[in-house]
């Protein structure tokens, strides 16, 4: 009798989703740097996506620009009657407005490319792990080949073939990045694939796609979350690099990279603010996302669990 009492006492309560989330957060906030990084990202996201409502100027509206305002140093009051906190560029654009609009473009491209690459990578990785055999060999061979080449080179090849523009850039980033997700999914899914619950599901008349996405996928998600965070940061920085090289976005719809590239022409003239402020925003964004990814990886690492 005593034995039975003991075992019922020791049985842990079933873990709900809300509890898991609370545990995750308790672990996550152990690092104040990571919490600060999360706050910074939230602020940048909100600030840039709502930028049309609060920044002083629409930088895309060429009619609203005044050539007399060109190259005003930070803090100068321009013809609009307000202070340009971060100065103005060669066309008289308010840098703060241009940076926040540019940041919005950068986020949009990074997130869209990240989500698309995630979806394609998951599909490729799951298909390879689930079916095995020749399909697996072929798919993973292509993925491995792509992983052996630097992402920037692949993106450059794609841009060389597709030309410039937002859609082309996103496509190039997806091509350059889906392989990371495919590799991670495949690694985790091949382990899960051999477990009994998948065998059990396969013995029922459930459709294959349902087993793949409803049974297999949830169990390979944790490592993917970490890869996704890092890949969004790297998509943003890749896009900025391509735009800086002059093969990314045109100056009519500038991202952060385009702004830095434009400002780069004027650094010898001592007009540092044209390139240094967009660069600082880019750096803060990328580093903050990486810090969050780092902490999520630590928290999800089974070796760290109590």
């Amino acid at each position: 009798m005593a034995m039975i009492d003991h075992s019922t006492e020791a049985a842990p309560p079933p873990e709900t989703r809300a509890m898991r989330l609370r545990n995750f957060w308790a672990d996550y906030r152990q690092s104040w740097v990571a919490v600060a990084a999360l706050i910074v990202i939230a602020a940048l996201l909100l600030g840039s996506f709502f930028s049309p409502f609060w920044v002083p100027q629409n930088p895309y509206d060429l009619a609203g620009l005044d050539w007399l305002d060109a190259f005003l140093p930070p803090g100068t009051v321009g013809s609009g009657g307000y202070a340009h906190l971060l100065g103005t560029d060669n066309a008289g654009r308010d840098m703060l407005s241009a940076i926040l609009y540019g940041l919005r473009t950068s986020f949009l491209i990074g997130l869209t490319a990240g989500v698309l690459a995630l979806a394609i990578g998951i599909t490729v990785g799951l298909t390879a792990a689930y079916f095995g055999g020749r399909i697996e060999a072929l798919l993973m061979r292509v993925v491995d080949l792509q992983l052996s080449m630097p992402a920037i080179l692949l993106a450059l090849v794609m841009v060389a073939m597709l030309g410039q523009g937002i859609a082309q850039i996103i496509f190039a980033l997806v091509v350059a990045q889906y392989a990371y997700f495919a590799r991670t999914t495949h690694g985790a899914a091949s382990v899960e694939r051999r477990k009994d619950y998948i065998e059990a599901a396969r013995s029922t008349p459930l459709p294959t796609s349902r087993i793949m996405f409803k049974h297999l996928l949830p169990n390979v998600l944790p490592p993917l979350i970490v890869v996704a965070t890092v890949q969004v940061a790297s998509a943003i920085s890749l896009e900025a690099t391509l735009s800086f090289l002059g093969v990314g976005l045109p100056l009519t719809e500038p991202s952060l990279g385009t702004l830095i590239s434009n400002g780069f022409k004027y650094i010898h003239a001592g007009r540092y603010w044209l390139s240094i402020y967009p660069g600082i925003f880019l750096m803060i964004t990328v580093v903050a996302i990486n810090l969050v990814g780092d902490q999520v990886r630590k928290v999800l690492d089974p070796r760290n669990s109590r």
Partner: protein, 324 residues
């Protein structure tokens, strides 16, 4: 082993063929190179002649086979912008890139390995934390942005070093390099630092990981128990053991230095092959684009093949699995 070798080789040939078709079709599908080359006011006759001269009136598949046939004779075509053969164009730019890569790899190794060793030896010290934070920066901050900061600090503000270009070249043995002159060195140092940062971060992390693992290993505990000084343990025992994975990964990463050289060369206006490919993309110089991309594909296929073969040589399980 022989069967495995043949299998891998034929795979590599298939990859190169498929990639060259994709690159060729992709590059030739965009725009019309003739529009870039001639004055818009030229007569239709001149236009026709030029199109025929470059073989652009032929169907795409025939153009591709002409291209492949020429490649096997060592002819990569003529640059439409510089009007010289692509082979001599690439070879005239290659030394600049190679010397840049050489200096940056040396910087990464000379700083990265000692820093990584220290960070692994005293993982909780402030200096170790600083080194790791630095390696994170090298990984995550875009290369072009760091390059620009270097120019702003050392060229514009302090005026110590030039901001771009290759500087004077001198003769060293049978080729010309800027490493032979002081002026050349002053030009190479900033871009080399810029290019080395990513490798530096990687090297620090690899060495540190190896060091941390080794510090807990049996052989180190045993060496300690024998009363050997730490200096001797680290430099003659641990360093030898961790050098194999470090050298492997580092060697593999050499290929990607080529990719990052594209960025660094553009920032510092360095006349290497990275700058060449960006310029040819911007000017739609198709023969250069196709040749460069196909060469890069071949380079990476060779790197992959070598790694596969070395692993197969070292680990019998790989060639047994791959051969089936």
């Amino acid at each position: 082993m022989f069967g495995y070798l043949v299998g891998r080789l034929s795979q590599a040939v298939v990859v190169v063929f498929v990639m060259s078709v994709i690159v060729f079709v992709g590059v030739y599908a965009i725009g019309n190179p003739i529009d870039v080359m001639i004055d818009p006011g030229a007569t239709a006759e001149i236009r026709e002649n030029l199109i025929r001269q470059y073989g652009l009136d032929q169907p795409l598949w025939r153009q591709y086979f002409t291209f492949v046939g020429n490649v096997f004779q060592g002819d990569l075509g003529r640059s439409m912008v510089y009007n010289i053969s692509v082979t001599s164009l690439v070879f005239s730019r290659l030394p600049a890139t190679l010397e840049l890569v050489l200096v940056s790899v040396t910087i990464a190794a000379v700083i990265g390995i000692p820093a990584g060793l220290y960070a692994g030896y005293r993982p909780n010290s402030i200096a170790a934390k600083l080194i790791m934070a630095l390696s994170v920066l090298g990984f995550s901050v875009p290369t072009f942005w760091i390059g620009m900061l270097l120019i702003m600090a050392f060229a514009v503000e302090l005026g110590w070093l030039p901001s771009g270009g290759r500087g004077e070249v001198g003769n060293f043995l049978w080729f010309q390099t800027s490493l032979a002159t002081t002026n050349g060195w002053s030009h190479v140092i900033l871009p080399a630092i810029n290019l080395s940062l990513f490798k530096l971060g990687l090297l620090i992390r690899l060495t540190r990981a190896g060091m941390v693992e080794a510090m807990g290993a049996e052989y180190v505990r045993f060496a300690r128990a024998q009363g050997l000084p730490d200096r001797q343990i680290v430099f003659s025992h641990i360093l030898r053991n961790i050098s194999i994975p470090v050298v492997t990964v580092f060697g593999l990463e050499l290929g990607s230095t080529l990719a990052f050289a594209v960025v660094t060369e553009t920032v510092f206006n360095w006349p290497g092959i990275g700058k060449l490919i960006i310029d040819s993309i911007l000017q739609l110089d198709r023969p250069v684009m196709v040749s460069y991309l196909v060469m890069v594909v071949i380079l990476f296929v060779i790197i992959n093949l070598t790694v596969d073969l070395i692993y197969a040589r070292l680990d019998p399980r790989v060639r047994l699995k791959g051969g089936s």
